[in-house]
């Protein structure tokens, strides 16, 4: 299976270079269709009162899921994004973290001290976003 796709695309490319594009669309459409068809045809269908209830982490459900949520949930989710993006950038930074020396060369031939300052600047900008959210009263729940 591992070598099937490259060899298929090679075969297609030797036929016509545009055939690769056609192959891509066939795979994309096929994947989407196969998922729907296979899961409806192969999946076991057991209906029942308990099965049809919304799943609430094992608790007994207290009501319908179709209700309005407080807009604050979405705001908190957006602050979460601030930190999520921060982590997303900090982890690659850690992987190029030199062991000892601030004058050691890191990625792109930049001295580590400069790299460190860049990351601190980045965190300061993230902090501005956080302070803004705080000042707007997103963290106040009442």
């Amino acid at each position: 299976m591992n070598s099937l796709l490259p060899s298929l695309s090679l075969a297609a490319a030797s036929y016509n270079e545009w055939a690769v594009l056609g192959l891509l669309f066939v795979i994309a459409a096929g994947f989407a269709a196969a998922n729907v068809v296979l899961s409806t045809s192969l999946g076991p269908k057991r209906k029942g009162l308990i099965k049809d209830e919304p799943y609430e982490s094992g608790m007994n459900p207290v009501g319908d899921t179709k209700q309005r949520f407080n807009v604050r949930f979405y705001l908190v989710a957006m602050i979460f994004l601030v930190f999520d993006v921060e982590v997303l950038f900090l982890i690659p930074f850690i992987t190029i973290f030199p062991q000892y020396d601030f004058l050691q060369l890191g990625a792109y031939g930049i001295k580590f001290g400069v790299l460190f300052a860049a990351v601190l600047t980045f965190m300061a900008i993230i902090l501005v976003a956080y302070l803004y959210a705080w000042g707007k009263g997103v963290l106040k729940w009442d």
């Binding site: 270079e17 890191g106 792109y108 031939g109 900008i125 501005v128 803004y132 707007k136």
Partner: protein, 514 residues
């Protein structure tokens, strides 16, 4: 490489000011919040000085880094037009009647404007597809917010949402194109992609997917410049947004989009003779013809002035695309250089368009006034100076001689003729004639009709300054274009990949323990 931060002084000024302004907008005291636009004006003025190198900072980014060939011009343009944009949106964001400012959102508004301007200033200094995407979004995402918060009417919310979702669609299209370019070259850096195109076109083996990547990238970015096929959002969004925001929308995304498209085309070395280049040229030709014709013809049908100016903005994108079709020309005939013509037109359009919009803002003394042609009837009786300035800017948009609009069209047509695109040049001239009809309709309403009701204007002094400076520039640069021409011509055009290749050391693996 670390020294390259020194080329970003104007952008850093704008970004720091954007952070300060955003936080200052949260201040409890209204008087503190009112300082935000002062700081924004100061920051753009400082950034303008920095973009000219007045602080001793280096400005000319070396060609060896394979950035856009004239990044300095774009930075200067962004800072100058940014300063005038801040002046012309002095009492933004509006609430109800003009003059009543919703100062709760003032910090956000000017913060977002500065973020977007920083993106425009930076777009020429991009040398990587990832950077190109990030900077294009840095330009665009703040403008979505500005459209939605600039005005408290529901029509602005609708415009903001529409602009955001369609913008996301366009971003998906050009990102998809970028992914194919990456798949073709194995690198996101311009220097590597350009080298891959050079190698592939000399051996006549440019794969179809690379071509698809180029086409999708250009078509996706055509959203930013409001060109066919992704032009359709412009009238609704321009009409829904507050007028100062509309003026900003007609500049920031368009400037960034044009630089991005030129950067993408430059990956193939502007070699329209190659098979890849000829496909690109065909695409750009079709886009140019459709964009200017559609923009001008549909503008004839409008009665709302902001919709007229929206369609006119589409049409002007079409003219600028003609310069791209002409390409970089031959070294022995400078007039065949369509890229410089496009950059000149971009600067000229930014100035004359902002001048026209500033006068429109000035004349919108009441909420929802100055939207329809009837609202401007007989302006010249009560406000002759305002009507005159507005008329001069509109004449420049038509392309009347002795204005910058005329020179812009002249250079575009010259480059099209010199590169053998006579038909395209004829279409430009016919379109310029069609365009005169709807611009003159506005002029006629101001001069030949009687006022329907007493006129109220916005008295802000900065707004008057912005309008005066723009009109002055339209006339002076229309007669003496040398200063602008010198900046647009600087540094020559890139020819294929650069000589110097910067090697990136392999990142050291993370060693845990011992």
């Amino acid at each position: 490489m670390e020294l390259h931060v020194k080329f970003l002084v104007p952008e850093i000024i704008l970004l720091v000011a954007a952070c300060v302004v955003t936080l200052l907008g949260l201040a409890r005291a209204d008087s503190t919040r009112k300082m935000t636009q002062l700081i924004a004006a100061l920051a753009t003025a400082l950034a303008f000085a920095a973009s000219l190198g007045l602080f001793g900072n280096p400005i000319a980014v070396p060609q060896s880094t394979h950035v856009f060939f004239n990044s300095q011009y774009i930075t200067i343009l962004a800072c100058a037009i940014g300063f005038l944009s801040v002046l012309s949106s002095w009492d933004m964001p509006a609430r109800g009647e003009p003059g009543q400012t919703d100062s709760n959102y003032r910090g956000e508004f000017f913060g977002m404007m500065l973020f977007s301007l920083a993106g425009v200033a930076m777009i020429g200094k991009v040398n990587d597809l990832i950077w190109l995407f990030l900077v294009l979004e840095l330009v665009s995402i703040p403008t979505y917010i500005m459209v939605a918060t600039g005005r408290s009417q529901i029509i602005a919310q609708e415009a903001g949402v529409k602009y955001f979702f369609l913008g996301a669609l366009a971003a998906a299209i050009f990102l998809f194109g970028f992914s194919y370019l990456y798949g073709f070259a194995g690198s996101t850096r311009f220097v590597d992609i350009a080298a891959a195109f050079t190698a592939a076109s000399t051996s006549h083996t440019v794969p179809a997917l690379a071509l698809i990547g180029l086409l999708m990238a250009i078509i996706g970015i055509s959203y930013k410049i409001a060109a066919v096929p992704l032009h359709f959002y412009a009238p609704d969004v321009y009409q829904g947004a507050a007028t100062p925001v509309t003026a900003f929308l007609a500049f920031a995304p368009k400037a960034a989009g044009f630089v991005a498209i030129i950067s993408i085309v430059s990956l193939t070395g502007f070699n329209y003779a190659s098979s890849t280049g000829s496909v690109l040229q065909t695409l750009l030709t079709v886009m140019a013809i459709l964009t200017m014709t559609l923009g001008n013809v549909l503008a004839l049908l409008q009665r709302n002035i902001k919709r007229i100016l929206a369609y006119s903005s589409i049409a002007h994108s079409g003219y600028m695309l003609v310069g791209l079709v002409a390409g970089k020309g031959t070294p022995d005939s400078p007039m065949s250089d369509g890229i410089t013509a496009t950059l000149f037109y971009l600067g000229g359009y930014a100035v004359m368009n902002l001048g026209a919009f500033a006068m429109l803002i000035y004349l919108q003394g009441k909420a929802d006034a100055g939207e329809d042609l009837d609202d401007l009837a007989g302006v010249s009786k009560d406000h002759p100076a305002a009507a005159l300035l507005f008329t001069l800017c509109l004449f420049s948009l038509i392309g009347m001689p002795a204005t910058i609009g005329f020179l812009g069209k002249l250079y575009i047509v010259q480059s099209a003729l010199a590169s053998g695109h006579g038909t395209l040049a004829v279409i430009v001239v016919i379109n310029a004639a069609i365009a005169a009809a709807y611009y003159l309709k506005i002029v006629a309403a101001m001069y030949l009709r009687d006022p329907l009701y007493p006129f109220v204007v916005r008295p802000q002094f900065p707004l008057k300054v912005a309008a005066l400076v723009c009109t002055f520039a339209v006339i002076v640069l229309g007669i003496m274009p040398a200063p602008l021409l010198n900046v647009t011509n600087k540094a020559g055009l890139p020819s294929g990949p650069p000589a110097v290749h910067i090697d990136m050391p392999t990142p050291q693996p993370l060693v845990l323990g011992n």
